[in-house]
């Protein structure tokens, strides 16, 4: 069975908020209605977002590390927000595992937001219904788009490719390989919600340089220095040979 999800690489995320703005831009322009903002240019602006980037500092100065942490609906495999919904407006799609809200059935009782430990749901003050990430369900199946564009808007926007999108139930998919080989993990595993979205941890970047890499292995006689040095006007050896 398919379970579409995002895999977010915290080692690569630079906290630029491009995913936040592109998400808002795409989803506020869609057929489902705007993501309302209140007082957008006033002293206390507020509005609906499906995606946020937060920043945490880990460790104690001077040994600190900054972790930028994008957060959106995790499309849990056991979504606690779905069974509590009294109207059935919140549902999990069987065909691809996306958790969605039917805005025409939602009564705006906010109970699902209480039942989500991640705070992934926000009540739209304008439409008075609960909203959350749809994994750009109106993009990923849009056959009028080029295949490379059939991805969530946040994934397309990420300048560092920190966001991967795919089927986490397909062991050969890019996301499954990333989870398996780069230590992918789920948030708050203690609640048994089995989030479909995964995060890749920060990694230490180390380069091991071997002795022979500092010397030219194809120059056993160590005669580099004796190569003729061209005059200033002449083309250098790099220009005329292919090595």
């Amino acid at each position: 069975m398919t379970q579409l999800a995002l895999v977010i690489d915290l080692n690569v995320c630079v906290g630029c908020h491009a995913c936040v703005t592109s998400c808002k831009e795409w989803n506020t322009s869609g057929g489902a209605g705007t993501m309302g903002d209140q007082n957008p240019y006033g002293a206390d602006p507020t509005g609906t977002f499906f995606n946020r980037v937060q920043t945490f500092e880990v460790g104690e100065f001077p040994n600190t590390e900054t972790v930028h942490f994008p957060k959106s609906c995790l499309h849990c495999e056991e979504p606690p927000c779905v069974p509590v919904c009294p109207t059935g407006a919140s549902y999990k799609r069987k065909e691809d595992g996306i958790v969605l809200v039917d805005y025409d059935k939602c009564i705006g009782c906010k109970y699902c937001s209480w039942a989500c430990p991640y705070g992934a749901r926000e009540l739209d003050e304008q439409q008075r219904v609960m909203k959350k990430c749809t994994l750009c369900v109106d993009r990923i199946y849009d056959m009028t788009m080029a295949p490379e564009d059939r991805k969530p808007s946040c994934v397309k926007a990420c300048p560092t490719s920190a966001r991967l999108f795919g089927d986490v139930h397909d062991p050969a998919s890019e996301v499954s390989v990333a989870i398996r080989e780069s230590g992918g993990y789920a948030l708050m595993p203690e609640w048994g919600t089995h989030p479909a979205n995964h995060y890749l941890p920060r990694r230490k970047t180390r380069i091991k340089i071997h002795e022979d890499e500092l010397e030219r292995a194809d120059n056993p006689l160590k005669v580099d220095r004796q190569l003729p040095k061209p005059a200033m006007a002449e083309p250098t050896l790099d220009d005329v040979t292919t090595w």
């Binding site: 509590v84 009564i107 439409q127």
Partner: protein
């Protein structure tokens, strides 16, 4: 959590109405077995049911203010298989219907004997409706409480004590109201009803104190470490991603100081339990004014209790919203 007044009024008003109905039917049952004098059915049971219905209607009305789309509220009856909220939406009108019929049977003095119990006790429609109403009243207490108790993320609510509190506090306020009401319509029952109100208030005090004791010793299951998946003992949020407020910063924080929270706790322990207990003890001998006062003070106390119930619950999503910038 942010306490919503719509829900505070809903839960306290229908709790009192359920308690009042249980008090009426308890008195009727005792009277049927000749353990209590028979009151004027039209006045006590009939008008008492009207009072319960008014409270239920007021609670139902308050609940609509909680909804973003009240005109779609009928849809909320559809997911009763999984959602306690949906179950409450079904049980509440059903209970109202039974209370209405129960009151109507008494109001019209409609008491045809349908059957007789082995002891020769006649069974009339009001007895059957009373049993049905009792079952529904307890079902409604269960639904209302389980809406909160079933949320495992909110450890303060996720306990059988939540169910016990809703039953006992609703019962206590309903019996106190019944005692105050009986002092006008059925003075011979005041001692009995005030006695039960005192017992329920005392039991509610014990169970609410038990939940307060439990809640102040809870250890949160989620931490910033599990929230973002970084295994380091020292993690500090630097920004939550926006500087204005959001639904997440409004809905899940009460925004009040520790001092106010603590004073509300002491207020409700006094006003919902200790003061009404003393006044019920005085009013047991009969004193309409004292009982009315007990009822009013207990209701104010329960409003504070319900406010505190919501404010005290700490949602794990708050881990993600600790620092603006």
């Amino acid at each position: 959590m942010h306490p919503a007044f719509s829900v505070i009024f809903l839960t306290t008003l229908i709790g009192a109405a359920q308690g009042l109905f249980l008090a009426l039917f308890t008195a009727q049952s005792y009277a049927a077995f000749k353990l209590l004098p028979q009151p004027d059915a039209h006045d006590f049971y009939g008008q008492g049911s009207v009072l319960a219905l008014l409270l239920l209607a007021a609670g139902l009305g308050a609940s609509f203010f909680h909804l973003g789309h009240p005109e779609r509220a009928w849809r909320a009856a559809s997911r009763w298989r999984t959602s306690w909220l949906s179950r409450e939406v079904i049980v509440l009108p059903a209970f109202m219907g039974v209370v209405f019929l129960y009151g109507l049977a008494h109001w019209l003095d409609w008491h045809p004997v349908l059957t007789t119990l082995p002891g020769g006790l006649p069974v009339d429609p009001s007895a059957i409706l009373g049993v049905a109403g009792t079952v529904l009243a307890f079902a409604l207490f269960l639904c209302t409480a389980m809406i909160y108790a079933c949320l495992k993320f909110l450890a303060e609510w996720h306990s059988p004590l939540t169910v016990a509190n809703y039953i006992l506090l609703g019962g206590a306020s309903g019996f106190t109201l019944a005692a105050a009401f009986a002092s006008h319509t059925a003075p011979e029952l005041v001692g009995f009803l005030a006695g039960w109100a005192a017992i329920l208030t005392a039991a509610g005090f014990v169970s609410r104190c038990a939940s307060l004791y439990r809640n102040c010793r809870l250890k949160p299951k989620s931490t910033l470490r599990t929230a973002i998946g970084v295994k380091h003992p020292r993690i500090v949020q630097k920004t939550q991603g926006f500087m204005g407020g959001s639904f997440n910063t409004r809905e899940f924080f009460h925004g009040k100081g520790v001092a106010l929270l603590r004073s509300i706790k002491w207020f409700f322990l006094l006003a919902a339990f200790l003061l009404p207990l003393a006044m019920l003890a005085i009013g047991m001998q009969g004193g309409a004014g004292v009982l009315a006062m007990a009822c009013l003070i207990q209701y104010l106390g329960l409003l504070a209790e319900r406010w505190y119930f919501f404010a005290q619950a700490n949602h794990p999503q708050n881990l993600y919203y600790q620092s603006i910038a």
